[in-house]
Amino acid sequence: MLAFIVQRLLQAIVVMMVVGIISFSLFQFVGDPVNNMLGPEGTTEQREKLREKLGLNDAIPIQFIRYAGNALKGEFGLSYRMGKPVDELLVERLPATIELVAVSAVIALVIGVPMGVYTGLRRDSWLSRVFLTVSLVGISLPTFVIGILMILVFGVWLGWLPTFGRGGVVDIGGWQTSLLTLQGWSHIIMPAITLALFQLTLIMRLVRAEMLEVLRTDYIKFARARGLKSRDVNFGHALKNTLVPVITITGLQIGSLLAFSIITETVFAWPGMGLLFLQGIQFVDIPVMSSYLVLMALFFVLINLAVDLLYYAVDPRLRAEHTGGAAH
């Protein structure tokens, strides 16, 4: 068990290092920081001074170490575009994205999983067909179209909900949350649903596919052959086996939510990290791009780690290494 965790941690560190190197390379080879900051007007002398100041004349390994050191401290330099330290910008925007993703994830899971289970168990009921049709439309609707439609219906035509921004925020120990006010909720509800919809349909189809697969197995047949009650077969045996692989995918979905939040934030002008990153790409703001990359990698690695641990806890086959040798 311990070996498992250590192995996973090591993998995580390796990935982060690789990402760090890629990110560092961005700084080195993509664009010229001096050019970006001074623009075309700077004199040669100014450039030299800036180069010296930024430590760009040092050997590359030294620069990398410095970069890594700074990164660990959370310093990624100054944004080219905005002039502010990147980490400040990120911290400012982090709560907005995290809350959006969290609320979306909850919506997607709470609705998606039961729908998936239902359509798996009752394959031919009309409700299942409805769900399936809706889900097919759901994965064909791009997130931004959903967002726009919602804005059109609920914002423009009905005027019920606000269509951009977070509304007022409440500061709790440095974390600015919009979830404590009704106004905050009215702002978050549309973006959250928009973000959740795609994932919800994906989860539903996944759970359904797994469920159908499980229901075909021999152990389910054997369970029925033993006369176990349908409820025990479906919600005990079948469900448990269905959810195990679903855990991994769900973990990956959260990562996907993080990525898709970029789109949602754009549509609803939600002041999160995604928007920051997008603007960074458009302006080739390297510090922002590379720090976002590192941050995302960190999130994904952590999520994967959590999913692995969860998997380990749930599936006894993974714990098999040490226990009793079966004689024959």
């Binding site: 047949k221 054997f222 052959a225 005990g236 448990k240 599936d315 079966a326």
Partner: protein, 334 residues
């Protein structure tokens, strides 16, 4: 064949299992009738695809759609069971009819401990409390030959070897003392060295618990060792059925004869193994008349014209025109 005061435990009458497909209806089990007495072991043999497993599935009510019982009946202890509702059938399953499948690896839920699966089955059909059920489970594990049952009861299926797993499966099938066990190729997925042990175990337990067995297999050796009577199936139909000694050593149906002759016997000198030409027909292309006639060395004209019913010959029953004295055997098809 003595007087039978009691009726047979299981009577299958004119069972017909169909699969509606877009190319028409496939008949997988065609007008099959047999019976099993209390405590006896009936072997059901035949090649893959002969309909043996489907017959077993039909009896226990676990035919997978679109397969369905088109006609005929299944009578358990005088009570018709093929037309019961799912819930009614569920109560019979496990308690009166048990089933053992071929692959012990996939028969057990990998996420539940062995003990949990046993206790669950016990508690579904009886009102044993948790502790009592657990004790009973431990006793069962011990009975099927699992060492250290108190420890192993909390282990997961993947921690058992193949043979051990099949023992657990047998324990699960027998735990409520059903009167009939349908064993569908119970040893095919096991190592040869283990097969014998499992068969011996199965036979002993069933005798001890008073359960009859419908032993479905394509392994004649197992049948010779274990069965009291044998039914031979071909292309969804019964070819021959009788006492094991009769069928094996004095096969009457040409197909059975071919089957027996194709098995090498230790200590027995033969120049050639008997080989039956051709292969069993697919369900979509069953010959008219007797299904075996294209391959049968003794076929004659009438064999192609009409399908034979089971005819009593000495102590067995054979579906072959050779044994019908009223049929003209003038023209051979050779």
């Amino acid at each position: 064949m003595n007087d039978r005061e009691r009726r047979p435990l299981l009577e299958v009458e004119n069972l017909r299992v169909e699969f509606p497909t877009r190319r028409g209806t496939l008949v997988a089990v065609d007008d099959v009738s047999f019976h099993i007495d209390e405590g006896e072991v009936l072997g059901v043999v035949g090649e893959s695809g002969a309909g043996k497993s489907l017959t077993g599935a039909a009896i226990i009510g676990l035919l997978e759609p679109p397969g369905r019982i088109a006609s005929g009946q299944v009578v358990l202890d005088g009570r018709r069971i093929d037309n019961l509702s799912y819930e009614q059938m569920r109560r019979i399953r496990g308690r009166e009819i048990g089933m053992v499948f071929q692959d012990p690896l996939t028969s057990l839920n990998p996420l539940y401990t062995v003990g949990r699966q046993l206790v669950e089955t016990l508690q579904t059909h009886t009102d044993l409390g948790d502790d009592e059920a657990r004790e009973r489970a431990i006793a069962l594990l011990s009975e099927v030959g699992i060492p250290s049952p108190r420890v192993r009861i909390d282990q997961y299926p993947h921690q058992f070897s193949g043979g051990m797993r099949q023992r657990v499966v047998i324990a699960l099938a027998l735990c409520i003392n059903p009167r009939l066990i349908i064993a569908d190729e119970p040893t095919t997925a096991l190592d040869v060295s283990i097969q014998a042990q499992i068969i011996v175990l199965l036979k002993r337990l069933c005798r001890d618990h008073g359960a009859a067995v419908m032993l479905i297999t394509h392994d004649m050796g197992v049948i010779a060792e274990t069965a009291d009577r044998v039914a031979v199936m071909y292309a969804g139909r019964l070819a021959e059925i009788g006492a094991v000694d009769q069928v094996i050593n004095h096969a009457k149906h040409p197909y059975t004869h071919g089957l027996m002759g194709s098995i090498p016997v230790v200590g027995h000198d033969a120049d050639e193994l008997v080989q039956i030409e051709g292969t069993m027909p697919r369900l979509t292309a069953i010959p008219s008349g007797c299904a075996f006639n294209p391959r049968c060395p003794e076929a004659f004209e009438h064999c192609r014209a009409a399908r034979p019913d089971l005819i009593a010959v000495e102590d067995s029953q054979v579906a072959c025109w050779l044994y019908d004295p009223s049929v003209e055997r003038a023209v051979s098809l050779e």
